[in-house]
C-alpha cells in the first residue's frame, strides 16, 4: 500500500484511522476545509474583535460552542464578544452530577443493580438543562472520543457506573488531557468496557494478559495508528504505524493488576471510585513500548503512571485528539493549518503547559477558520449536525422543561423511529461514526470529503428524524414540555416568525427559497386563536428542523 504524493481523484486507502489528512487528501483539503481555502498559508488566528458579533454571527458561534442560540446567550455573546463568553463559560461551576442525581432520586435499590433505570434521564437532563452549556457540549464530544457504551457494561450498578463515567468526563472537560486519560483509564465503567478491570499477568498454562485496553487506548484515546505531523498530515508523507503487536503485548502487561475499589452488591459507591492496584496480579517483568522501558523493579502504580505519561507525551496526541474535537464542535474537515494551530496550543498553552483542554477549546472556537462567515462558495464546509446535538439544540432553544423532574426522555437509539443515536449508547468503542468516514457514491466521496455523521445517516434515519420530531416538536418527549411563549407573539406574522426560527436554529442560513416555502405554508395556517398560533410556531420550528440548511452546521 503506497500513498501517492500526487492528488488523485478518489483519495482513500490510508485515510484509515484518519487522524489526519493523507498527503493525497491535502489537495482536496484546501477546498474542503472549514475555512474554504484555508490551506497551509492560512492567516494566523484573528486578533481580539474590535467589532462585537452580529446576531447571526453570535448564533453561529453558539451553534458550535453551545448547543443552542438562546436569547440570553445571544445577548451575552453580542455584548461581550466570543472570547469573554468562553471565559465566562469556563468559569461556570459544575451543577449536580449524574451519579449524585441518581442517588438523590432513590434509584440505588436492589432492583436497579442490573438496570440502566434513570441513566438516560440524567444524561438528557444535563445536556438539556445544565447552565454550563460549553462544558456540556465538550463533555458530549469527549463521550464520543473516550467511548463507553451502556451496550457493553455487564457489571453491578451498571446504570450508576455509566452516570459516574459521564461525571468523570465532565469533571475533566476543562482540565488537562493527562488527568483525563488517567481518570478514564481507572474508571470502573471503562475498566469493565475495555477489560482493564481484572486483567492479570500470564501464567504457566499459557494464559495471557488481556490486550483490549492497551490496544484501544492507543488507537482511539491518544495517538492513533499512524504517525502525524502537528497539522494532522502524515509524518513524512507516508503512513508509518505508531505501534506494533509487540507494543500492545508489552503495554497489556503494564495494564495488569487493577480492580474495583470497595465493590459490593448493597450499594453503588464503588462506581465513582478509581480502580485500585492489586500487586498479586501484576506482571512484574520489564516492559518496552513507544521508546519507554519499565524495569522489572517498578511497581504497578508507577508503571501505570509511566505508561500514561509516555502516551500523553506522544507528538500525535495534539493533532489526533485536537482534530476530533474540532470535528465534534466546528466542522468535519478542518484544514491542516487549523489543526496545526490547535495542535500548537495543545503542545503549549502559552504558559508551558501541554494538554490544557481549556486553552485547546478556546483555540478551536476562536480560530479564524471557525469564525469566518460562510459564503456560497463553501460547498463542503461545516458538519452535519449529529442527531443528539439536534435534539438538545431544539430542547434548549425552546426551554424544554420536566415538570416532574424525571426527564423521562428514553433511549433514542432506534434508527427507524427515533434518532439512531443516544448519549453513551454507541454500538462499540469506535463510536457512532468514524472521524475519517467519507460518504461513498457521492460528490462528497469523489472529493474525498470526510463527513463522519453521514455514517449514521441513511434511508431509515432521515425519515425517522422527520417523524420523531413531528411529535416531539408538538408536545415534547415523555412528560417534558417545550415553551414557545417567546415565539407566540410573532405567530401571526409568518415572515417574522420564520426569521426568528431561522436565526435561532439555523443561524440565518436558510436560503430564500426555503424561507419562502416555510413562510407560505405558515401563512396558509389559521392564526385566529392561541392554539392556532401555537400550531404555526410548531410548524415553523418543525419545518426548519427538516431543512437541509439547518441540518448542516456551516
Amino acid at each position: 500500500m503506497e500513498v501517492s504524493s500526487e492528488p488523485v481523484e478518489q483519495p482513500l486507502s490510508e485515510t484509515a484511522q484518519s487522524p489526519g489528512l493523507v498527503t493525497a487528501l491535502a489537495a482536496a483539503a484546501s477546498l474542503a476545509a472549514c475555512g474554504g481555502g484555508g490551506g497551509a498559508d492560512s492567516p494566523a488566528p484573528v486578533p481580539p474583535p474590535t467589532v462585537l458579533p452580529t446576531a447571526v454571527e453570535a448564533s453561529r458561534f453558539l451553534g458550535q460552542a453551545a448547543f443552542a442560540a438562546t436569547d440570553d446567550h445571544l445577548a451575552r455573546v453580542q455584548a461581550v464578544g466570543y472570547a469573554a463568553w468562553i471565559d465566562e463559560q469556563l468559569a461556570q461551576p459544575r451543577t449536580t452530577g449524574h451519579y449524585d442525581t441518581m442517588i438523590a432520586a432513590g434509584l440505588a435499590v436492589a432492583s436497579n443493580e442490573y438496570t440502566f433505570t434513570g441513566t438516560d434521564n440524567t444524561l438528557w437532563r444535563k445536556l438539556i438543562s445544565s447552565p454550563d452549556v460549553l462544558r456540556q457540549r465538550v463533555t458530549l464530544a469527549l463521550s464520543e472520543i473516550f467511548v463507553v457504551s451502556m451496550l457493553g457494561l455487564p457489571l453491578s450498578w451498571r446504570g450508576f457506573s455509566a452516570a459516574a463515567y459521564m461525571d468523570v468526563l465532565e469533571a475533566n472537560a476543562f482540565g488537562n488531557y493527562r488527568d483525563l486519560l488517567q481518570a478514564v483509564t481507572l474508571s470502573p465503567a471503562m475498566g469493565t468496557y475495555l477489560n482493564l478491570r481484572g486483567n492479570q499477568k500470564g501464567d504457566a498454562s499459557g494464559r495471557q494478559p488481556d490486550e483490549n485496553y492497551a490496544r484501544e487506548v492507543l488507537q482511539l484515546f491518544s495517538i492513533g495508528l499512524v504517525e502525524l505531523n502537528p497539522d494532522g498530515t502524515l509524518r513524512g508523507g507516508v503512513a508509518t504505524d505508531t505501534y506494533t503487536q509487540d507494543t500492545i503485548t508489552n503495554l497489556a502487561r503494564v495494564f495488569t493488576g487493577w480492580e474495583f475499589d470497595g465493590f459490593n452488591h448493597t450499594e453503588p459507591s464503588y462506581t465513582i471510585k478509581p480502580m485500585v492496584f492489586l500487586a498479586s496480579r501484576f506482571d512484574t517483568g520489564s516492559k518496552q513500548f513507544l521508546g519507554t522501558t519499565i524495569a522489572s523493579t517498578v511497581d504497578g502504580v508507577t508503571a501505570m503512571k509511566l505508561a500514561l505519561d509516555t502516551i500523553a507525551a506522544h507528538p500525535n496526541v495534539g493533532p489526533f485528539i485536537g482534530r476530533q474535537l474540532i470535528q465534534r464542535l466546528v466542522c468535519s474537515q478542518p484544514s491542516a493549518a487549523y489543526v496545526g494551530r490547535v495542535s500548537a496550543v495543545w503542545a503549549n498553552n502559552g504558559s508551558g503547559v501541554r494538554g490544557d483542554l481549556k486553552a485547546v477549546i478556546k483555540a478551536i472556537l476562536l480560530d479564524s477558520e471557525a469564525r469566518r462567515a460562510p459564503t456560497s462558495a463553501d460547498t463542503t464546509r461545516g458538519k452535519l449536525r449529529e442527531p443528539v446535538q439536534r435534539l438538545v439544540q431544539w430542547a434548549r432553544t425552546f426551554k424544554l422543561s420536566s415538570p416532574t423532574g424525571l426527564w423521562n426522555i428514553p433511549d433514542t437509539s432506534d434508527p427507524s423511529t427515533r434518532l439512531g443515536q443516544s448519549p453513551l449508547r454507541a454500538p462499540s468503542v469506535f463510536n457512532f461514526f468514524r472521524p475519517g468516514y467519507v460518504p461513498p457514491n457521492s460528490p462528497l466521496g469523489t472529493l474525498g470529503v470526510q463527513a463522519p455523521e453521514f455514517q449514521i445517516t441513511n434511508e431509515s434515519t432521515v425519515v425517522a428524524w422527520a417523524n420523531f420530531m413531528q411529535s416531539t416538536v408538538f408536545s415534547g418527549l415523555g412528560e417534558t414540555r417545550p415553551d414557545y411563549s417567546a415565539e407566540l407573539p410573532l405567530a401571526a406574522d409568518a415572515a417574522a416568525l420564520v426569521a426568528r426560527i431561522n436565526l435561532l436554529l439555523a443561524h440565518g442560513a436558510l436560503g430564500a427559497d426555503t424561507v419562502a416555502t416555510i413562510t407560505q405554508a405558515i401563512n396558509s395556517m389559521s392564526a385566529s386563536n392561541d392554539n392556532a398560533k401555537l400550531n404555526r410556531v410548531r410548524a415553523a420550528v418543525f419545518l426548519v428542523l427538516c431543512a437541509p440548511e439547518y441540518l448542516v452546521q456551516v
Partner: protein, 461 residues
C-alpha cells in the same frame, strides 16, 4: 496499488458501460438508475440469485465456534484455552461427520448451541471454510516472520480489518466487494436501488462505484408520516415538508442529505408496496433474535423479487457483541445460537420459496481471535473459520486447511493467532463467480485476486 485499482476500476466502468453516456453524466449519482436497468434488461439473466453476508462484528472467536473433538486435539485445546474451554462432553451432539474425512483422523464439533447449522451440515447444505482471513498474497509463516511479503494493513485493528474484509482496503475505503458485485449486476435489475440492500448498519461492503447501499431497518421501510396526513392540521405543511426534504442544494453535505431522503421516499413507496403485495414466507423466524428479524426481512424481500424487478441482489445483515475479551463463556454461546438459528430459519425460508439453490449466505467477521486465553476471553487474531449456507453449497464437509491445535504451531503468528491459509479474496472471488461475474471482470470485484492462482474454491455449484 489501491489507488491505482480505484482509478482503473472507475475507468473500466466508465469505458465498458456505454449505457453511462446514454444515462448522462449525472448517472453515477442518480437516485435510481431505473432507466439504465431497463435499457439493459434485454441482456439480463432470466434466473434469480442472491448473496447474503452475515457479519459478526467484533471478531468472532473461531476457537470456540469450531472445536477439536478427537481426544488428542481436544486435550491440546483444553490446555490452551483454560477457563474458556468448552467441556468435551458438551460437544458430542454437535460433532461433525464430514463426507470427506479430515486428515489424521481429526474430528471437529460445532459449538453446542449451533444445532441449526449442524442440521444443515448433515444435510449437505452448509460447508465449513477453514482458516480464512485477509491476505495480500499467499503467505508462509517464514515469510510472515521475515516480513518478506506485503501483509494486510492494520492487522488486529477492528475497524480496519472489518474494512479490509469488506473492501480490501483499511478504513476510509468507499467501496466493498459486495457493492462491486452489485456494480456489475446492476443492469440485471429494473430498479437499481434494490441491488444492494443493507438490513443492518452502514457497511462499506455494500457500496460500489455505482451501486448504492440501500439501508432499511428490519421492520421494513418507514414512510414520512407528515406526507400521509396534515402536519399540525396543515396540508400545506405536508407539501412544504416534501419540498424541503427533496430539493437539492449547492452545499454538498446538504445535497447528500437530500439525495438520501429522496431515495428513501422513492424506495419506501416501491418496497412498501411490493412487501404488501407479496406475503412473507411462512417459515418462523425468532422475533427475539435480531439476526433472525433481519434475515426475515431479507427473505420477504426475496419473496417480493418479482414486483421489485430484481434478478441479482446482495444483502447484508449483522450483529455485534463478538469482541469477547471477557465474559466469553457466558456470552459467546448465546451469540452463536443466534447466528445458527437465524441461518437455519433463513435457509428453510429459501426452501419454502423454492429458491434455495439460488441464495447463498456466508459468515464474515473482523478477524479470528487468539487460541490462548486471557482468563475470561481471548484477544484479536487474524484467520478464522466461516460458514457458507445454501442449496448451491457443496456442504457436509470442510474446505481449506485445518490448522494445528497449538500455540507456536505451524500457522501461529503469536498466542494462537492464525496466519490464514485461504484468503478473503479467494472467498470473495468464489462467491462473485457464482453470482455471474466473469473471470475477466473478477479483478474489478476483487482487486488482489491476481495474486492467487486458485480463484474458485469449488464449494459452490
Amino acid at each position: 496499488m489501491s489507488q491505482a485499482f480505484q482509478r482503473s476500476t472507475r475507468r473500466a466502468f466508465l469505458q465498458r458501460s456505454s449505457l453511462m453516456s446514454m444515462a448522462g453524466a449525472a448517472a453515477p449519482w442518480a437516485l435510481n438508475l431505473a432507466t439504465l436497468g431497463e435499457a439493459a434488461a434485454a441482456g439480463a439473466p432470466t434466473d434469480y440469485k442472491a448473496l447474503v453476508c452475515l457479519f459478526m462484528y467484533g471478531g468472532n472467536d473461531h476457537g470456540n465456534t469450531l472445536i477439536p473433538f478427537d481426544n488428542s486435539n481436544y486435550a491440546a485445546y483444553q490446555r490452551i484455552r483454560g477457563a474458556v474451554a468448552i467441556p468435551q462432553a458438551n460437544l458430542a451432539a454437535t460433532a461433525l461427520t464430514p463426507t470427506v474425512a479430515l486428515p489424521d483422523a481429526r474430528q471437529m464439533a460445532l459449538a453446542p448451541t449451533m444445532g441449526g447449522l449442524k442440521t444443515l451440515f448433515d444435510a449437505g447444505r452448509m460447508g465449513v471454510l477453514l482458516n480464512v482471513g485477509t491476505l495480500i498474497q499467499p503467505t508462509t509463516l517464514a515469510q510472515y516472520k521475515a516480513k518478506s511479503v506485503p501483509l494486510p494493513p492494520k492487522l488486529f485493528s477492528h475497524n480496519d480489518q472489518q474494512s479490509v474484509w469488506q473492501s480490501s482496503l483499511p478504513e476510509g475505503a468507499t467501496s466493498g466487494w459486495g457493492g462491486r458485485i452489485g456494480d456489475l449486476l446492476l443492469s440485471s435489475n429494473s430498479q437499481s436501488t434494490f441491488t444492494c440492500i443493507n438490513v443492518s448498519s452502514n457497511a462499506v461492503y455494500m457500496s460500489g462505484q455505482n451501486a448504492v447501499q440501500y439501508q432499511v431497518g428490519s421492520g421494513g421501510p418507514v414512510a414520512v408520516r407528515g406526507f400521509g396526513a396534515p402536519i399540525y392540521g396543515s396540508a400545506a405543511c405536508s407539501t412544504a415538508l416534501r419540498t424541503l426534504m427533496t430539493t437539492t442544494r449547492p452545499h454538498l453535505m446538504q445535497a447528500e442529505h437530500v439525495r438520501i431522503a429522496a431515495r428513501a421516499i422513492d424506495a419506501q413507496a416501491a418496497l412498501g408496496s411490493a412487501l404488501t403485495t407479496v406475503p412473507a414466507p411462512a417459515t418462523v423466524f425468532d422475533s427475539s433474535n435480531p439476526l433472525a428479524t433481519q434475515l426475515a426481512l431479507v427473505a420477504h424481500m426475496i419473496a417480493a423479487r418479482s414486483p421489485l424487478g430484481a434478478k441479482r441482489q446482495v444483502f447484508f445483515v449483522s450483529m455485534g457483541g463478538f469482541d469477547l475479551h471477557d465474559f466469553m463463556p457466558s456470552k459467546h454461546p448465546g451469540l452463536l445460537s443466534q447466528v445458527s438459528d437465524a441461518l437455519k430459519s433463513f435457509y428453510d425460508a429459501t426452501v419454502e420459496m423454492g429458491v434455495a439453490n439460488q441464495v447463498t449466505a456466508f459468515t464474515a467477521s473482523d478477524f479470528g481471535r487468539t487460541l490462548a486465553n486471557n482468563g475470561d476471553g481471548s484477544d484479536h487474531g487474524w484467520g478464522s473459520h466461516h460458514f457458507v449456507v445454501g442449496g448451491a453449497v457443496q456442504g457436509g464437509r470442510f474446505w481449506g486447511t485445518l490448522p494445528q491445535t497449538a500455540v507456536n504451531g505451524t500457522e501461529d503468528v503469536g498466542q494462537g493467532r492464525l496466519l490464514p491459509t485461504t484468503s478473503v479474496d479467494q472467498m470473495a472471488a468464489t462467491l462473485a463467480t457464482w453470482m455471474g461475474v466473469s473471470a475477466t471482470d473478477l479483478p474489478l470485484v476483487v482487486p488482489g485476486i491476481g495474486n492467487f492462482s486458485q480463484r474458485n474454491l469449488g464449494w459452490l455449484a
